[in-house]
Symmetry: C2
């Protein structure tokens, strides 16, 4: 049985600058899911995970615009809402794409909590901007009512709330996800899990408390892949490969490479913070914890990458 965890990026759902309408998001998802459906038809059972940046941002903006009338939900609850929203949209798009490939499988979405360490240094230094822009007066009000942190966005001229981005250290629902992927004679389900990097919680004495933070979706996907004992982890993005000297005149695409080589490149700062670097880190975590192959490529090149003819393949 061939199985994999596959992570799709935010731009698989909404392109930069596009209006966040249901129609636009479904159209992008239909195009992405056509590629995923071919992968599934070729024999892969997958756990699919996805980004949620623009969507959770818009849910926060909706909460903010309604805040005089309705209590706003905390960030962890908004992440949960975005898992519902996007999980459903992906289910619908992927089911349709599978039917077009002649494959009948139920696409099942499991709400996923990701465990973070309450002592993670990220909590001391919130860096990730989320939600709407505020003016100085609103910031003063929100600081007093909510104890939020803010950073100024010079380019776009306004303040935004910043939240911590701690490292994922566990997945609460991994046993159920594993059972859905590996449990049957023939897996009936394609599983969507860990959307948006998961709903961040801290664990104390067996129960969980939500925290107002966001977790990198590729790192969370790597933790999930390890927990469900996958051997293959595929990260889809908007470039066909990871590159060396990406911003130079001669960017060099990486093909087949090893974890040791990638760690060197990473330590030399070859990969962009917030874009390629977390993907490489996620791959290295996966390979250091039982994973066998990690692939970084574009959605369009996934078929070729699985056959070793495109993309960046990292082995132990």
């Amino acid at each position: 049985m061939k199985t994999a965890v596959v992570a799709i990026g935010g731009n698989a759902i909404l392109k930069a600058g596009e209006e966040a309408s249901f129609a636009n998001q479904m159209r992008n998802l239909q195009s992405t899911c056509a590629h995923l459906a071919r992968m599934i038809r070729s024999g892969y059972d997958i756990v699919l995970t996805h980004g949620n940046g623009p969507q959770v941002g818009n849910i926060l903006i909706q909460n903010d615009l309604a805040r005089k009338k309705l209590p706003s939900m905390p960030l962890d609850v908004c992440v949960a809402e975005s898992q519902g929203q996007l999980g459903y949209m992906i289910q619908q798009a992927l089911t349709e794409a599978l039917i077009k490939e002649g494959v009948r499988k139920v696409v099942t979405c499991v709400l996923t909590r990701v465990i973070v360490d309450p002592d993670d240094p990220a909590f001391e230094q919130p860096t990730k901007p989320v939600g709407p822009f505020y003016d100085g007066e609103e910031v003063a009000e929100l600081k007093s009512t909510h104890n939020w942190d803010f950073a100024i966005d010079e380019k776009r001229g306004g303040y935004r709330r910043v939240v911590p981005s701690p490292r994922p250290i566990g997945i609460v629902e991994f046993s159920g996800i594993r059972r859905l992927v590996f449990g049957g004679e023939n897996q009936a389900e394609v599983v969507i899990a860990s959307g948006g990097g998961g709903i961040p919680v801290v664990e104390r004495g067996g129960f969980y408390t939500g925290v107002e933070a966001v977790v990198d979706k590729d790192l969370a996907a790597a933790v999930l892949a390890v927990k469900v004992q996958e051997k293959l982890f595929v990260m889809l993005t908007d470039v066909d490969n990871a590159f060396l000297d990406y911003h130079s005149k001669n960017p060099r695409p990486l093909g087949r490479t090893t974890a040791a080589e990638m760690r060197e490149h990473l330590e030399r700062g070859q990969f962009g913070a917030g874009s390629m670097a977390p993907k490489v880190e996620a791959a290295l975590y996966f390979l250091a914890n039982g994973g066998e192959r990690a692939i970084i490529t574009s959605t369009e090149k996934i078929d070729q990458a699985l056959e070793g003819r495109a993309g960046t393949l990292i082995v132990r």
Copy 2:
């Protein structure tokens, strides 16, 4: 193994008149989940379903108040968001309640689509009010842009959108839910599913299209209970029993009774439309399709009702 589908009502999450804050909802859920945790400790593996009326209403209001800035999501997507929001909150509250009872189980929430018939007569006659109140001018605008139906609310003086409430005829994700409940040696998961009556979809040629409708949560729970081949179906509400002559001076609580008797009472109009009648209908559907026992009682009486000492028990 003792298993059951358990449905909790809206007031288990938010009492009438209470502000819909996260803190209020969690406090109510903690109290409800204490009872559910005792049921689980006593040996029941459960699939838990829940209402979402106030919550999806508030998500619609947030969409509406933000509509000049952000495209509103269709109703089916808002239902999906409410499944994420409430599924997560219930997971957290129930995990804590279980730990207090000394039970370690993962509470797993599966996003659930409910299948309805595109030819259901409800689509001809939308009756269920959802979301914000509008004035006449807004109604004219929304009718032209969205093709929505509206009804006037005389008491509260305003228009509200009305949507169809078709009957549920299937559950897309039932096989995965069944595997999570029955799949293991010892079930590790408590499963939350079919929140808010499910995300309504119609099926054509194997794929699903969302529809702007809402489905009664007890009827959807009954369909789910039949699909996962449960024998016991428990509906929790704010009264200890179903009653005959409920609005008379002498309301008579129903104890142990049969499906045939309940059908007679139902046909004579003994049960309130929109409150007890759909619960009785849900019980009858369940018992006519393989179910053995249906219980209607309050959250507080669940322990006693399971032992036959309280509540309304309906058998085939």
